[in-house]
């Protein structure tokens, strides 16, 4: 069975004929392409942009440490206050000791040292005492100019096995009032001072 002859080749002849019937005067030319951002001469190399060097940066990226050191030096020039609470000093005041703090204005405060909070210039200590059977705690800034002196009254016999002695708030471990110990110490220290002053005046 012979297949029906296809008309496809003939139709292509038709197409070609239609193209050739157009006159060459009106041949299709695409519109010129519009370049929106073009350089005057794309073949030339691009302009070299000058990159300036940066100015010098700050001396240190941690100014707070430098500021803290400067502030402590100004408030504690001899370094005695810092040494009182230094970790390296074996004679430093430790949690559990009884501390007597004299201020420039107001009553002195004494108590058991529960906490040394080390924060640079904001280093502070927490003292706990009993005033008229009422437990009283007080935070004192170590480097504050309002603090006249911090004195160690009595050391803890054994080293406290903790850095923060909050267990002493419980009745079982509460030290109680430190008034008696502190007044003894104050009397002795005055006597010692008076004795040394007398000796100095004598000699």
């Amino acid at each position: 069975m012979a297949s029906k002859p296809s008309l496809w080749p003939l139709t292509t002849l038709l197409h070609r004929r239609t193209v050739s019937t157009l006159s060459t005067a009106t041949t299709y030319t695409p519109p010129p392409r519009i370049h929106f951002a073009t350089r005057p001469n794309p073949t030339l190399p691009r302009r070299r942009i000058k990159v300036y060097p940066p100015p010098p940066g700050p001396l240190t990226t941690d100014p707070i440490s430098a500021l803290t050191t400067a502030q402590i030096k100004a408030l504690d020039p001899s370094g005695s206050r810092a040494e009182l609470f230094s970790r390296q000093n074996p004679q430093a005041i430790r949690p559990g000791d009884i501390v007597y703090v004299r201020r420039k204005n107001g009553e002195p405060f004494s108590g058991v040292l529960l906490n040394i909070r080390r924060r640079g210039i904001d280093t502070s200590i927490l003292l706990r005492d009993h005033l008229t059977k009422l437990g009283v705690e007080m935070w004192l800034k170590v480097y504050s100019p309002i603090i006249d002196s911090i004195n160690l009254v009595q050391r803890k016999e054994k080293m406290a096995r903790r850095a923060k002695l909050y267990y002493m708030r419980k009745p079982a471990h509460d030290f109680g009032p430190v008034r008696g110990i502190v007044s003894d110490w104050v009397r002795k220290s005055y006597a010692a001072k008076k004795g040394s002053a007398d000796k100095a005046s004598q000699s």
């Binding site: 519109p31 010129p32 519009i34 370049h35 929106f36 951002a37 073009t38 942009i49 000058k50 990159v51 300036y52 060097p53 940066p54 100015p55 010098p56 940066g57 700050p58 001396l59 240190t60 990226t61 941690d62 100014p63 707070i64 430098a66 500021l67 803290t68 502030q71 408030l75 420039k104 204005n105 640079g120 210039i121 904001d122 800034k141 480097y143 504050s144 100019p145 309002i146």
Partner: protein, 306 residues
């Protein structure tokens, strides 16, 4: 026959001028400055101005120029600094003052905005440093024009008039401010993400026990029923994104300045986390600070350049 429209002239014009979107401008450049000026003729096009002060010998209060005169703007530009943390200052009387430490890092003037060209006076300040490999070519050209290295942060500080302009390339140091003066501080506050009602708006929540089922921190009611409009009123406070937006703390005192470290100590807290960029400028809620003559910045050269 329909009229023959020739596109050849237009196409030739396009071929010569690559950007067809460049509108043909009149030679008078002053008209491009569209805001604030009633001194420029035809500033508002051909529309009649509401308050015309062109005919009056004095500046009328209702005019835009008078409003610009009244506007509270700083006379000097500001500075970009990094929030480093907080510390404290002790006064001799024992008073302790909390301060925020802000540090200047390679802060320079990168560009200047003028009224003639941009319609307002401003100084663009940049801080930090960015590797030129990571900076786009347009921005590299911008920094080259200012004569500065590529900056990490850029910000404009609007000033009152041309006396506040500074030469591009001028470096800022911490002693740009005076101890005791007042400044306005602007920064993006800490972001808290999607925050609930209790955190975001201080809602009280519901009881923790007594039969409460799964509803301890929820919003509760969102409003009334039919009587309240049968809808949730617009603006009803609800959980959502909290923080991460710009916050201004006005009239903050400068407590201490350290030129070597490049630090400024400001009274109290400052918005934003540690390491964020903070914009500091003379406060507009008070008189401008009395700057010593030696540190006054010249304005004429900057105007001539721009």
């Amino acid at each position: 026959m329909p009229p023959r429209i020739s596109l050849a002239h237009y196409l030739r014009h396009l071929w010569r001028n690559p950007c067809p979107f460049q509108p043909t401008q009149p030679p008078d450049l002053a008209n491009r400055c569209r805001s604030f000026t009633t001194t420029v003729p035809n500033a508002f096009g051909n529309r009649p101005k509401r308050i015309s002060s062109s005919g009056s010998p004095e500046l009328l209060e209702g005019s835009k120029a008078a409003a610009l005169e009244r506007k509270r703007l700083a006379t000097r530009p500001g500075v970009l600094a990094i929030k480093k943390g907080m510390t404290a200052i002790y006064r001799p009387n024992g008073r302790r003052i909390s301060c925020t430490v802000l540090q200047l890092e390679r802060v320079q003037v990168t560009a200047v905005k003028t009224r003639q060209k941009h319609g307002y006076w401003a100084v663009q300040v940049g801080s930090g440093w960015r590797n030129s490999q990571n900076v786009t070519r347009p921005m590299l050209g911008h920094f080259e024009a200012g004569g500065v290295a590529p900056k990490e942060h850029l910000r404009e500080f609007r000033v009152k008039d041309e006396n506040g302009l500074m030469e591009p390339g001028t470096t800022f140091s911490a002693d740009f401010f005076i101890e005791g003066q007042y400044v306005d501080v602007r920064a993006n506050c800490k972001g808290h993400g999607f925050a609930g009602g209790m955190k975001r708006h201080g809602f009280a929540g519901q009881p923790a026990s007594h039969g409460n089922s799964l509803s301890h921190r929820i919003m509760g009611s969102a409003g009334q029923s039919q009587g309240g409009g049968s809808r949730v009123l617009p603006g009803k406070r609800m959980p959502g994104r909290m923080g991460g937006h710009r916050v201004t703390r006005p009239h903050v005192q400068v407590m201490k300045i350290d030129k070597e470290l490049g630090t400024i100590l400001l009274f109290g807290p400052v918005p934003g986390p540690k390491g964020c960029t903070v914009a500091i400028q003379d406060t507009i809620l008070g008189p401008p600070p009395a700057i010593p003559e030696a540190t006054a910045a010249p304005g004429e050269s900057a105007v001539a350049a721009a």
